[in-house]
């Protein structure tokens, strides 16, 4: 089964679950209030809409499910690993923000992306990391006065 169809099925299931969550949260809110429709009015119908549409998408994806060549699904898998890997690195850099500050965490993210994904030499990675960390500090912190998360080293 191709990535698209598996993805459609998975997204259909997740969105159906999400729709049910929206319905259950919305039913806990008043449907009507003294001003007319209550805070639960529109969310309830949105939840019903999400659930109905995602179930429809799910049914359609089951009907359309077909085969795809091994090469293309292998390519999709590698692509997703690279995409999600980059996102994971980004999230780690967010987690590091309060600990080591913006400059260092952006530097580390750059080093990871350049070495792991672009297969460049560590020297290139270090050069780019230093250039970006310094550039951002000069432009945003000093020139524009934008406050950024600061680490123990003061940047």
């Amino acid at each position: 089964m191709s990535f698209e169809h598996r993805g459609d099925q998975l997204s259909g299931i997740i969105l159906s679950g999400f729709g049910i969550l929206v319905i259950s949260e919305a039913t806990a809110l008043p449907y009507v209030s003294e001003f007319g429709p209550g805070p639960g009015f529109l969310p309830l119908w949105i939840g019903i809409g999400i659930t109905a549409c995602s179930l429809a998408a799910l049914v359609v994806s089951f009907f359309r499910a077909g085969k795809r060549s091994l090469d293309s699904s292998e390519l999709s898998r590698i692509e997703i690993i690279r995409g999600v890997g980059s996102w994971a690195a980004f999230v780690v850099s967010i987690a590091l923000l309060p600990l080591i500050g913006f400059g260092l965490s952006l530097g580390l993210l750059s080093v990871f992306l350049i070495i792991a994904l672009d297969r460049r030499s560590p020297w290139v990675a270090l050069g780019v990391a230093l250039f970006l960390a310094l550039g951002f500090h000069l432009v945003f912190n000093l020139a524009l006065g934008v406050s950024l998360p600061v680490g123990p080293l003061g940047f």
Partner: protein, 504 residues
């Protein structure tokens, strides 16, 4: 006469030193963004929005609009030199532009793209100037039911024209509407969908969502693969970039076609510049004496879509400024920006804020001249931007995204939300869920709910008020027709073909 007086007022604002400078910054940044594949105008505007909070709002709007229409100019460069569109609206330009470059005519192709953009862009501004005030006067008749119906039409149009699957478009819209509802209810002050997080009481910040979906999502998609392409050299010197007299003669109808088609497509919510460029190219080919030459490198095949692409900007600003209804992701972000700066886009905007409206209109004339001057002699310089390695560009975009999210309220919570919406944006692209309806749903969600609840309060809970008034009934009927029309085979085939072109 009024329009002339107002335009004089507009020029007095647009020609101030600060506004000229920021207009230049906007069009310059826009050109760079247009040149760079993988970073579109919505992402750029969302990224820069937090930095405009300290600026004068009119100046900030002039700069943001500069980015918007500047990107349209820049988009042709990569289409012609690389066969890679800088943004989706430049896809059609690849067809003949790249062929011209292969024949050694990259210079005239870039030149005609700039000239067509200037001619049609100026037409679009004229259209905005003359069409916006009457539309605004007409919209003064609208009450809550009409506004509700109008927003439903806007959302239905976007669903109809974006993404291969209508169901996915509707789902994206509904998720956007739900996101708009997170936070404190305006009528009852009751918290909704905050899941115990105090930070969510004010709702989810629109800027965080748009940076996540567009900037982070786009970078993650680009990081998936390591592909390169061969770039054709741009001939140096203005003379080598100027089209010949024959080129200009061949393109004269393309200028008119692009200008008119682009503007009127722009006025329609959801249609956008991609459809405009696609349609004007089709018309140019249909009425050409040599339709078989299209795709093999004809100059009017570049002039028509590039013109339409630029004229569309003026058209798209008509519903945005006069009705408060955006037609695309970029105008949705501009709408959010207008709200953040304290404006109320709608029928009264022109009356209440003449400086903003007429200053913007005049700045667009100035900006178009700046872009022509920038794009003709400096195309070789802009083409050098393509040599900036992606391994420098992408970490930089991550950095700007973090700053954009953090600087909204100096809160790491927003940065975490950015991470979540970045992943959502990535998977939406992978799974072919269109992002524009989600963004539009989020921008319009609060106002849509307000209009619906006000309508129901007016009618003491009877839904018949929505179909009992002729204007709202007609608009709702139109929305229903739009959503069900793809069930007709021929319409579905046309829609799929148009969207396939857009997603190429």
């Amino acid at each position: 006469m009024d329009a002339i007086n107002n335009l004089v007022l507009g020029f007095s604002i647009a020609l101030s030193a600060a506004n000229l400078f920021w207009c230049f910054v906007g069009v310059f940044l826009g050109t760079i963004v247009g040149v760079l594949p993988g970073l579109g105008p919505p992402a750029t505007i969302a990224l820069l929005l937090p930095l405009t909070f300290k600026m004068d709002p009119t100046t900030a709007m002039i700069m943001m609009a500069g980015i918007y229409y500047g990107a349209k100019y820049g988009g042709s460069t990569t289409s012609i030199l690389l066969n890679v569109p800088g943004e989706s609206a430049s896809v059609v330009t690849c067809l003949d532009g790249y062929q011209l470059a292969r024949q050694g005519r990259a210079g005239p192709a870039l030149g005609i793209a700039a000239i067509a953009s200037f001619v049609a862009g100026s037409f679009g501004v004229l259209g905005l100037m003359f069409m916006a005030p009457p539309v605004a006067r007409f919209a003064l008749r609208f009450g809550p039911p009409e506004y509700f119906a109008l927003m439903v039409v806007g959302l239905a149009m976007v669903v109809f024209l974006t993404g291969r699957s209508m169901v996915k478009g509707v789902l994206a819209t509904l998720v956007g509407l739900w996101l708009a509802g997170v936070g404190t209810d305006v009528f009852t002050a009751q918290s909704r969908f905050t899941f115990g997080h105090m930070e969510l009481l004010d709702g989810i910040d629109f800027i965080v969502v748009s940076i996540g979906l567009f900037a982070i999502g786009e970078v993650l998609i680009n990081l998936e693969s390591r592909t390169g392409a061969q770039i054709f050299k741009v001939p140096r010197g203005l003379r080598n970039l100027l089209p010949t007299l024959k080129d200009l003669k061949d393109s004269r109808f393309a200028f008119v076609n692009g200008s008119v088609v682009g503007f009127f497509i722009g006025v329609l919510p959801g249609a956008g510049s991609t459809i405009a460029s696609f349609l004007s190219y089709g018309l140019e080919k249909a009425f050409s004496r040599n339709p078989e030459m299209f795709g093999a490198g004809v100059i009017e095949g570049v002039a028509a879509p590039e013109g339409a692409n630029n004229s569309e900007t003026g058209g798209a600003l008509v519903p945005l400024l006069t009705l408060g209804i955006p037609g695309s992701a970029t105008t949705a972000i501009l709408l959010a920006a207008l709200h953040l700066w304290g404006f109320r886009p709608g029928p009264l905007l022109i009356q209440e804020n003449p400086n903003l409206f007429w200053g913007l209109v005049a700045s667009m004339y100035v900006g178009n001249v700046m872009l022509l001057v920038l794009n003709l002699p400096l195309v070789p310089v802009f083409a050098q931007i393509l040599k900036v390695p992606y391994f420098v560009l992408y970490p930089a975009i991550f950095g700007i995204s973090i700053i954009g999210a953090y600087s909204i309220s100096n809160s790491l919570f927003d940065v975490w939300m950015l991470g979540i919406f970045g992943l959502l944006g990535y998977f939406m692209r992978k799974l072919d869920y269109p992002a524009a309806p989600l963004v539009l749903g989020m921008v319009l969600g609060k106002r849509l709910e307000l209009a619906l609840r006000q309508s129901l309060m007016m009618s003491q809970g009877r839904l018949s008020i929505l179909v009992g008034r002729p204007l709202s009934a007609a608009m709702l009927l139109f929305a229903v027709v739009l959503l069900f029309m793809p069930m007709l085979g021929r319409v579905r085939a046309w829609r799929t073909r148009a969207i396939e072109q857009e997603l190429l």
